[in-house]
Amino acid sequence: MINRRHIPESHSEHPNVVPLIDVMLCIIVFYMLAAKIGVTAGADDAINLPESLFGNKLELTNTLIINVTTINLSGQDVTRVTAAVDESGSGEPVAIEVDNPNTGPLAQALLRARYGQDRREGGTGINADNPKLSVVVRADAGRVKYRNLAPVLQAIAAAKIENINYNTRMKENQTVPTE
């Protein structure tokens, strides 16, 4: 009599979970590689960005995010600027005064980001220049007026930062620009 080989019957009390674990580990590895966690360092999520259809995607590398909004002080709207310019390098946005657009705290912080600790062109190490530094301006669509934004733009220009991007959000129910 030929002894046919066949799959032995499973007599285990529990279902075989090994394939389930394999699939779940694959999914976990996928999420770990593809998902972005904590990438938007320095961005103030409370800001209501304006909508747009046109625009590019941008990799936020070598980028300084400047958040511009206003707060009500004694019945007046005062410009509030935050940016991740803390010298400790924590990446958390801190409030910074604009004051004089060419020499104020914001201008000095931008010069330090652009030209290093000495805030002058040239240098190595901590004084090394960063010519490819990009600035992303995140301003509140409903609260910020141009008179609030202009000094910030002047400070950026005073620091000779050439790559400026304005952060917007895609209009809902739109995926491609309309003609």
């Binding site: 007599h11 979970v17 046109f54 007026k145 220009a157 959000r169």
Partner: protein, 157 residues
Amino acid sequence: MAKHYGAKNPARFESGPNMTPLVDVVMVILIFLMLVGSFATDQLFLQQKAGLLDVGSTAAKPPEPGEIPDEPIIVRVDPTGGGGFVVRADDIQATTGDVLYPQMKQRFETLTSIGKTSDKITVVIQPNGEIGYGQLIEVYEAILKAGFEKVSFATAK
């Protein structure tokens, strides 16, 4: 799996280590990553390729005969009653970005048809101080969509 035989004990199989705690931990990690991670974002970036310009400055030297001067196109944005705005540039006038876009596109096509390249054409937006940032972006986007590359903002009003 080891199979044990005995005279009185029936055949039994060892099922191996208990996988249940491993499955629990893996599911918790998976749910954490699903909630915290983000993939496609709805954020866009409008790039500015020209620096701030002082509208009051004049050209350094007069253009050569036959040379088309690189005068910037000044686009003024002023507020109107009711929270709206009006955009004016030479013979162009619009109150929304959708109305501004075809006029600016026609202007761009006119300039490129006479030999001007996009890197030679500068547009300077001169907004009133009370113009909202959302309105400003609407105008900026319309001008960029029309094909202009060098679009900047004015320092002086």
